[in-house]
Subunit: 208 residues, 2 copies
C-alpha cells in the first residue's frame, strides 16, 4: 500500500482545484473559446502552473471528461449487473443517471457537446479514448436489453437500436432541462422516459 504524505495530498488537491475551475470555464464557453489564462485565473494559479499538472490544454480537457465519465460508468454498470428484472434495472439506471446529471450540471454541458463532436475522434488519441468509453456504455446497455428480449420481457427487436432509442430519449429531455431557464427537478422526467420507452405513446384499448 502506498503511503501518501502531506506533500502528495496537497498536490492532488491543487490538481483537483484546477480541474474544477476548468470544468466551470469550459462548460460556459466551450473548448476553443476558453483560454488557459482564464482557467488559471478561476483556479487562482498562474498560467504556467497549469502546465505543471497537465501537459496541454487538450490533456486537461480530456482528463476532465475521462474522470467523470469513469465515475458515472461505474455507478451505472453496477446497477446494470444486478440480478433483478431487466425492467427494474432500467428504471433504476434512469434514476441514477438523472440524479448524477442533476449534481453535475456543469460537467454535462461539456459532455453533451462532446458527444456529437467528430473533430477529434479521428485525430486524437485522447479523443478516441473518450469515444471508446461512450461506445462501451451503449454496448453494455444493449447487452442488458438483449437479456430482456431473451427472457420475454421485451419485444424481439435489435437491442442496439433499443439502446440508442433509450439514450436518445434521455439525452433529449436532459438537454432540454439544461437549457431551460426555469430549472425543474430533472428527476421528475425519469418516469416519463421509462413510460415512453416501454409502452410508447399510442393510446390502446385495454381489456381486463
Amino acid at each position: 500500500m502506498e503511503k501518501v504524505g502531506r506533500k502528495e495530498r496537497e498536490r492532488q488537491a491543487h490538481r483537483g482545484e484546477i480541474l474544477r475551475a476548468a470544468e466551470k470555464v469550459f462548460a460556459g464557453k466551450g473548448f476553443f473559446q476558453t483560454t488557459m489564462s482564464e482557467i488559471a485565473h478561476e483556479a487562482e494559479f498562474g498560467t504556467g502552473t497549469l502546465y505543471k499538472y497537465f501537459k496541454s490544454k487538450e490533456e486537461l480537457y480530456f482528463t476532465l471528461i475521462d474522470e467523470k465519465t469513469e465515475e458515472i460508468n461505474r455507478l451505472v454498470n453496477a446497477e446494470l449487473c444486478r440480478g433483478t428484472s431487466v425492467k427494474e434495472r432500467i428504471k433504476n439506471v434512469l434514476n441514477l443517471e438523472f440524479q448524477f446529471i442533476e449534481k453535475n450540471r456543469d460537467f454535462f454541458r461539456i459532455y453533451v457537446s462532446e458527444r456529437s463532436r467528430f473533430e477529434w475522434t479521428v485525430k486524437d488519441e485522447l479523443g478516441k479514448k473518450i469515444h471508446e468509453k461512450m461506445v462501451t456504455y451503449i454496448r453494455h446497455l444493449a447487452r442488458v436489453l438483449k437479456e430482456g428480449v431473451d427472457r420475454g420481457e421485451l419485444k424481439p427487436m435489435e437491442p442496439l437500436d433499443m439502446a440508442h432509442a433509450l439514450t436518445g430519449i434521455v439525452n433529449s429531455l436532459f438537454f432540454e432541462w439544461l437549457i431551460s431557464p426555469h430549472p425543474y427537478p430533472l428527476i421528475s422526467k425519469a418516469n416519463t422516459v421509462f413510460e415512453i420507452f416501454l409502452r410508447g405513446t399510442e393510446k390502446m384499448e385495454r381489456r381486463k
Copy 2:
C-alpha cells in the same frame, strides 16, 4: 417581378459554390478548426473573395445552417399540416426527415454538432436565430402531438415531452448512422423509430 440578369445569376452561383465548399470543410473539421483559406481553396477562389460574399467566418457558417434548416423545416411543416391522422403524419415526417438527412450527410454533421452547442446561443445574434428555428420546429411538432392526444389517438401526456422523446430517438439513430463506418440506408430505421415511439419496447400479451 424582379428581372435578374446574367450578372446577378452568376453572383448567386458563386455564392452557392462558396457555401457548398464551406459545408464540406466545416463538416469535416468543425467551425474552429476550419480556416477561411481552406474554404477558399476548396471553392477555388481567393481568400479575399469570400469576404465579398460574407461579412465574416461566422456569418458564412450561420448562413449555411440557416438556409438548409429553412429548407427541411418547410418540407416537414407542409407534411405536419396535412389533414390525415396524426399517426399517419408522424410516419410520413419520419420518412421525409430520414430521406433529407441521407441526401445531406455533410450538412447534418454540422447541424448535429450545432444542436448541442451553447457557446453562441447566448452571445451571438446569428446563433440566436438558428436556435429559434430549432425551437420552432419542436413546438410545431408538439402542437400536432397535442392534436393526437385530444383526438384520442395518443395517450394523455405532456406533448412537449413526447416531441422531445421523438426527436431524441431520431437524433440518436441518425447520429449512429453518421458515424457508422459501413453505411446502411438510414431510411431502414424509420420504421423502428415509429414503432418504439408509438408502442414502446415492452412485450405485452395480445388478446384477439
